[in-house]
C-alpha cells in the first residue's frame, strides 16, 4: 500500500469520499431537515442556509403537533417507548431461546436436527403478509391482539432464526476439544457451556443480538396489522405525520433522527464486538 503512486492514493481517496457522501448525504439532509420548518424545507431552490429551530423536536416530545389546521395529538414518544419495549424484549427472549438451541444444533447431531434448524430459518423467507392475516384472526380469538406479549411472540419470527443461525456458526467455530478439556478438568456440561462456550461465542452473540435488534426495530408490517395506536412502534406511528393538512416533513425528519438514534448508538457501541466477532477464528486456542 505504501508504495502506491500519489495518483492512485488520490483516486482512492476520491472514491472513498464519494462513497461516504453517497451514504451519508441522506442522513445529513434528514438531520438538517429536522431543524427546519416545513416552509424552509419546501422552498425553491433548497438551501442549507436557514435559522435552526427546535420546534419539530418540541412538538414530538410534547406530543402536540401544531399545524395550519390546528393542534394535533401525536404519540411519538409513546411509539418510541413501544419500539424499545418490543425490540428489547424480543431480542432478549430470542437470545434466551436461541442461544441454547444454537448450541444444541452446533454440538449435537441428532435425527432431524438439520431439518428443524432449516425449518426455523424458513420462517425468514415466508412473506410476512401470508402468515399475518390468519395470525390476526387467531390473535383476536386468543386475546393476544394488541398486546405486547402477542407482538413479542410474533417478533420471534424475525429474531429467533437470525440469532439461531448466526450463533450456531460461532459455536461450531469453537474447537470441541476446548470444551472437552474443561469437562475433563472436572466441570459439568452446563458449567462448560457457561464458562467456555458462551464467552467464546460472546462476540458472535452480541453481533447476532444487534442485528436482530435492528431488524425488530425496523419492522413495520407485523405491528401495523397486529397493534393499535397505544402499542405501535415508531415505524407505524410515523404514519401519523401524514395529516389532512399535508405532510409534516420537519417532524418526520425529527422523528427519524430520534428513532435511528438508539440503533445507531448501539451499533457504534457494539462495533468492537462486531469486529471481534468477525475475527473470532484468530483467537482459537
Amino acid at each position: 500500500m505504501d508504495h502506491a503512486s500519489p495518483m492512485t492514493r488520490w483516486l482512492k481517496g476520491l472514491a472513498l469520499t464519494l462513497v461516504v457522501i453517497f451514504f451519508m448525504f441522506p442522513i445529513l439532509w434528514i438531520v438538517l431537515m429536522s431543524f427546519q420548518t416545513n416552509e424552509t424545507i419546501l422552498r425553491m431552490p433548497p438551501s442549507v442556509v436557514f435559522t435552526p429551530t427546535l420546534e419539530n423536536y418540541q412538538a414530538l416530545i410534547t406530543g402536540k403537533l401544531v399545524s395550519s389546521a390546528g393542534v394535533l395529538e401525536i404519540q411519538f414518544m409513546r411509539n418510541l417507548m413501544n419500539s424499545v419495549i418490543l425490540s428489547v424484549c424480543s431480542v432478549a427472549l430470542s437470545l434466551l431461546l436461541g442461544v441454547p438451541a444454537a448450541y444444541a444444533f452446533a454440538r449435537h447431531k441428532f435425527r432431524g436436527s438439520e431439518d428443524i434448524a432449516f425449518t426455523l430459518l424458513s420462517f425468514r423467507f415466508a412473506p410476512p403478509l401470508l402468515v399475518l392475516l390468519p395470525l390476526a384472526l387467531y390473535f383476536q380469538d386468543l386475546g393476544l391482539a394488541n398486546t405486547y406479549i402477542g407482538l413479542i411472540w410474533v417478533y420471534q419470527l424475525i429474531c429467533l432464526p437470525l440469532i439461531l443461525w448466526i450463533v450456531r456458526g460461532y459455536f461450531e467455530d469453537i474447537s470441541p476439544d476446548v470444551e472437552h478439556a474443561y469437562r475433563l478438568a472436572g466441570h459439568s456440561w452446563f458449567s462448560t457451556f457457561r464458562r467456555i462456550a458462551l464467552p467464546l461465542a460472546g462476540p458472535g452473540i452480541a453481533a447476532a443480538g444487534l442485528l436482530a435488534f435492528i431488524f425488530a426495530w425496523n419492522n413495520f408490517v407485523f405491528a401495523l396489522v397486529l397493534a393499535s395506536a397505544d402499542k405501535q412502534p415508531v415505524t407505524v406511528g410515523a404514519l401519523a405525520f401524514v395529516t389532512a393538512s399535508g405532510i409534516q416533513y420537519g417532524q418526520i425528519a425529527a422523528g427519524i433522527v430520534l428513532s435511528i438514534a438508539p440503533t445507531l448508538a448501539l451499533a457504534l457501541y457494539a462495533q468492537r464486538y462486531l469486529v471481534e466477532g468477525l475475527s473470532l477464528g484468530a483467537v482459537k486456542g
Binding site: A181, L184, A185, G285
Partner: protein
C-alpha cells in the same frame, strides 16, 4: 506386575464405527497401575478415538471401559478422574495460562492460597512460571504444550491420557521433552496412556507399546519385543529409521541349515527357521543387522554400492544385489565403509526376521539343538 490388583485401565472389546468406517475393531487392552502404555500407530489407526472413548468424550458402539475396576459406562467425563492433554493443546483462549492450569482445581472448589500454590508448583516444574499471567495466544508452542500438560496434571489424576503432546512442538523441544517426560510421569505415579506416531517416542516413553493399525491392536509388548520381534511385517515397517529392508525370498535348507539366496550366494538364517523352507516369505533386515565384510568371509554376499547418506550418528549406504534388489546398510558414523563399487555384506542371522509373504505374520524360529552354535 505380579500383584493381584485389578488393572488400572481395562479396555474390553471396544468397537467404534463412524458411519461405515470402523475406527476401533474390538480393541482390548489393560494397563497396570502406574504403567505408561505407549499407544503407537500410523495416523488414522484409531489412537485418538480410543483415547476419547477412555475419557468419555466419544461413546463406543460396543465394549466396556473400566478405570480402577469401576465400569465407566454411565460415568460422564468430568467424573472419570482422567487428565488429558490434547494434540492441539485445546487451551481456553479467553483465560490466562494460570487460569487454564487452575481449571481442575476450581472444579474442586479450591481457591485462594492452596490454588495458587498448586498452580505455581506445577508451573515451576514445567518451567512456565514466568508466563502464567499471559493469554494462550501470547505463548510459544512449547509453552502452550507445557501449559496443557500442567493443566492435565493439576487435578492429580490417577489416569493420564496424552494425545501426541509433542506433535506440534519443534524438534529441539520434542527431544528435551522426550527425556523429561518419563521423569515427570514417574513422579506423578499416574497410569498413563501416551499416544504417538513417532516410534522413537513410543520406545522412549512406553513401559509397553500397543501397536494399533486400522483399529486393531496388532502387537502389545515391551519396546524391545516390538522392535526385535515384531508380530507382523507392518509392525516391523513402522519401527526403525531407515525402515526395515524387505526382500521377497523363498528360504531353502541344506546340510548346514536354512538360508536364502542373495546375489546367488548363500545368506544363512537362524537354524530354528528350517521349517520355513520352501514357503514364499518376506525377509526383514534392519539396516543395522547388515554389515560390510570381506569377500570370501562366511555368508558374504556380493553387492554394488549405490549411494551413501551420512546421518548424525550413523551412515546409511544403499547397495544393490546382483539381481538389483535394494538393501540399506547402516553402520555407526566414523567406522570405515566400503569402497565405491563392488562390496560384500553379511547378514546378522540372529536378527534377520522372516515373515509369511501371504499373511505378513512373523515366522518365529523354533528351538533346535544347533541353535546358538551358529551365533
Amino acid at each position: 506386575m505380579t500383584e493381584r490388583k485389578p488393572p488400572a485401565i481395562e479396555i474390553d472389546a471396544v468397537t467404534k464405527r463412524f458411519k461405515t468406517d470402523v475406527a476401533l475393531d474390538a480393541v482390548s487392552l489393560s494397563v497396570a497401575e502406574g504403567e505408561t502404555l505407549a499407544l503407537f500407530g500410523p495416523s488414522g489407526a484409531g489412537k485418538t478415538v480410543l483415547l476419547r472413548v477412555i475419557a468419555g468424550l466419544v461413546e463406543a458402539d460396543a465394549g466396556r471401559i473400566r478405570i480402577g475396576g469401576r465400569d465407566m459406562d454411565d460415568v460422564p467425563p468430568e467424573e472419570r478422574g482422567v487428565g488429558m492433554a490434547f494434540q492441539n493443546f485445546a487451551l481456553f483462549p479467553h483465560m490466562s495460562a494460570f487460569d487454564n492450569i487452575a481449571s481442575p482445581l476450581t472444579a474442586r472448589r479450591q481457591s485462594g492460597e492452596a490454588l495458587r500454590a498448586g498452580v505455581e508448583k506445577l508451573a515451576t516444574m514445567l518451567k512456565i512460571g514466568h508466563v502464567l499471567g499471559q493469554a494462550p495466544k501470547a505463548l510459544s508452542n512449547g509453552q502452550k504444550q507445557r501449559t496443557a500438560l500442567a493443566r492435565a496434571l493439576a487435578g492429580g489424576p490417577r489416569t493420564l491420557l496424552l494425545d501426541d503432546p509433542l506433535r506440534n512442538v519443534d524438534a529441539k523441544l520434542r527431544f528435551e521433552m522426550r527425556l523429561e517426560l518419563p521423569r515427570l510421569l514417574a513422579r506423578e505415579k499416574a497410569t498413563t496412556i501416551y499416544v504417538t506416531q513417532d516410534y522413537r517416542e513410543a520406545m522412549a516413553l512406553g513401559d509397553r507399546i500397543a501397536v494399533l493399525e486400522g483399529g486393531r491392536v496388532t502387537q502389545l509388548g515391551t519396546p524391545e519385543e516390538v522392535y526385535l520381534a515384531p508380530a507382523t511385517l507392518s509392525v516391523a515397517r513402522l519401527f526403525g529409521d531407515p525402515a526395515i529392508n524387505t526382500l521377497k525370498v523363498t528360504p531353502q535348507t541344506d546340510g548346514q541349515g536354512p538360508f536364502v539366496l542373495l546375489s546367488d550366494l548363500r545368506a544363512p538364517l537362524d537354524d530354528g527357521l528350517s521349517h520355513a523352507a520352501g514357503r514364499p516369505c518376506v525377509l526383514g533386515l534392519r539396516p543395522e543387522a547388515v554389515r560390510f565384510t570381506e569377500a570370501g568371509a562366511p555368508g558374504a554376499v556380493a553387492v554394488t554400492v549405490e549411494a551413501e547418506t551420512p546421518l548424525n550418528e550413523k551412515t546409511v549406504t544403499l547397495v544393490t544385489t546382483k539381481r538389483g534388489r535394494e538393501i540399506l546398510v547402516s553402520r555407526p558414523a566414523g567406522t570405515p565403509g566400503p569402497a565405491e563399487g563392488a562390496a560384500h555384506i553379511a547378514v546378522d542371522s540372529a536378527h534377520a526376521l522372516l515373515f509369511d509373504a501371504e499373511t505378513g505374520a512373523r515366522i518365529a524360529p523354533r528351538e533346535t539343538t544347533r541353535r546358538g552354535a551358529a551365533a
